[in-house]
């Protein structure tokens, strides 16, 4: 059966239309096909038994939807609330700050690695972990204590709809999971621009300045930038981030630098950074929302915001 990712691409291709708001039959058929395809995959709902396979390849079985969920990453916390299952959340990490209602959920500490005791103290029946080598031991411990564990690779925009569909049935909101996924994919598809926009500005996504670290094409931030009409000046870096030399930045001469804090960033006062034209000319774009820090359903809004910011700065 087609994977959700493939469904996304199918859907994408079908909806690559004029985006003019009129009703088209082809996209609807495509939508139905994709929905059917996705339904047939990972989360199967047969009477009384929920089965899912997580990103570590482990199978999770629940007799009924989970009612005590601990989410150990801000992205999954946000997603759980977004599909309407926020009331089933009994634990979140200290970094989970969205939506506002998340703050009322009990704080169990860090997500990587998690505090086993505080998580188990919440008596979860489902734990959502970010998949990383540091968490595999924690996953074992949670399973041994009787909780179902989902280890998730939540790194790209496409993971938002995929995981929404995966989680929906497990937390008793299959319909919302699906509709969020569908709406998300549709919005992103609408936002997608033709791929060779030669007028697209080159942008440096700077994660850190000491040492200089750039965000590469392997990250969702870069995906958001591309959707917003920018070109990542370090698109050849396939990892999510990497240390680069100031000289490399200067040589690639980005026309804009994306920073998260407001005002003139600290590094702009340092002489060696001023070899970069964009620093000298103070060509900074400020995107100060924490939503930029994780793949989330708010991504389409971010893309729109970034798009207008970039358009403002076009020479």
């Amino acid at each position: 059966m087609a994977s959700p990712a493939l469904s996304f691409r199918l859907l994408n291709a079908h909806l690559q239309g004029p985006g003019d708001g009129r009703f088209h039959l082809k996209p609807v058929v495509g939508l139905l096909v994709a929905l059917l395809a996705a339904c047939g995959t990972r989360a199967n709902q047969s009477a009384g038994s929920l089965v899912a396979v997580d990103d570590a390849g482990d199978t999770v079985r629940l007799a009924q939807p989970a009612s005590r969920v601990v989410s150990l990453s801000p992205a999954t916390t946000e997603l759980v609330f977004a599909i309407g299952a926020g009331d089933r959340l009994v634990g979140r990490t200290r970094w989970c700050d969205f939506p506002e209602a998340a703050r009322a959920v009990a704080d169990v500490g860090d997500g990587i690695p998690p505090n086993i005791e505080s998580v188990l103290a919440r008596r979860p029946d489902l734990v959502l972990l970010y998949r990383s080598p540091q968490n595999s031991d924690a996953a074992e411990r949670f399973r041994a204590a009787g909780a179902a564990v989902l280890q998730l690779d939540f790194d790209h925009l496409e993971d938002v709809s995929r995981i929404a569909r995966l989680l929906g049935p497990l937390v008793g909101h299959p319909a919302q999971g699906d509709s969020l996924a569908t709406a998300f994919d549709a919005e992103l598809a609408r936002l997608r621009l033709p791929s060779d926009d030669r007028g697209a500005p080159t942008v440096l996504l700077l994660a850190w300045d000491q040492p200089p670290m750039a965000i590469g094409a392997g990250s969702f931030q870069s995906e958001i930038l591309t959707l917003a009409g920018g070109r990542n000046v370090f698109a050849d870096i396939t990892t999510p981030s990497a240390t680069v030399s100031i000289e490399a930045i200067a040589a690639r001469d980005p026309s804009l630098i994306l920073v998260s804090d407001s005002g003139i960033p600290g590094f702009a006062r340092r002489p060696e950074w001023n070899v970069i034209r964009a620093v000298r000319e103070r060509r900074f774009v400020h995107l100060a929302t924490p939503a930029f820090g994780r793949p989330s359903p708010r991504a389409p809004a971010l893309v729109r915001e970034l798009r207008s910011l970039l358009a403002e700065r076009r020479p």
Binding site: W208, P211, S245, I246, A248, P265, R269, E272
Partner: protein, 324 residues
Amino acid sequence: MTAARWPWLLGLTLVALAAGLSLGATRIAPGAVWAGLSDPAAGAAPIIRELRLPRVLLGFLVGGSLAVSGAVLQALVRNPLADPYVLGLSGGATLGAVIAISAGLTSPWAVPFAAFAGAMATLLLVYRLSLVAGRRLDSHVLLLAGVVVSAFTMALVTAILMLVDATRLQNSFRWMLGGLWSASWITVRMFAVYGIVPLGVLLLNGRSLDLLALGEEQARHLGSDPERVKRVAYLATGFLTAVAVATSGAIGFVGLLVPHAIRRIWGPLHTALLPSVFLAGGGFLVLADALARSIAPPVELPVGVVTALVGVPLFAILLKRRLA
């Protein structure tokens, strides 16, 4: 008969400087390098003058200073495994830097000075701890105090970063890995001003260090005042290492391996050893940094990784030759 050293060392220095200016994220041909140096309007000039030249100079000064500090400390604590970080300074420098970064201080002087202050504070703390019975600097206690204070400051750093956000945690540890990315005319000037005096002091005390290396009792019987020499050596290397770590983090292997390599080739007498390790350490770090910048552009490897990967096999070759 071993080869004359100065032509070799000066040759190495020139090759390193040339490589450092020419290699990097983009290769700049020697002709263009020269044009960039001499003519401010040349195309490559901003990169050469504002980025590579200060970086190469800082690399040379830092590498040379770490090598000199390592050589002196090996004599001071009479232990061939000593390196500049046994003084426990890198933890203090990291603490200072992390505090400055976390506090969001933006002045270009802020982080280097904070790191320097942190390093000097730990230096004095270790010195105080080592003053057994209030007067004598005991080398064994010095080593132990350095290790203990280092662990303490690193624990403090980790605790502070745990309370700040997760990305800062990871990124601030990268600061500690060490690198020359903060090189600018500001940091070069800072090093020149603060590093010249301790470097000079150490270079002039070569013979006293020869005696100290024999053991404190022997040194005294031969007419030296080992307490004074130890104090001067300790404070000067501490100061010098503090400046190096404040500008470039804790770059490893240079201070440990370069002195041994030079001793194996040309012998351990400090009057000639110290200037030799300065040139060799400086050249080595500049070459390692050039490699770190140009191996996988645009990504820059941490220079401490390159010094280890390149330095250790080189040293193994040297060891083998000596025993053959």
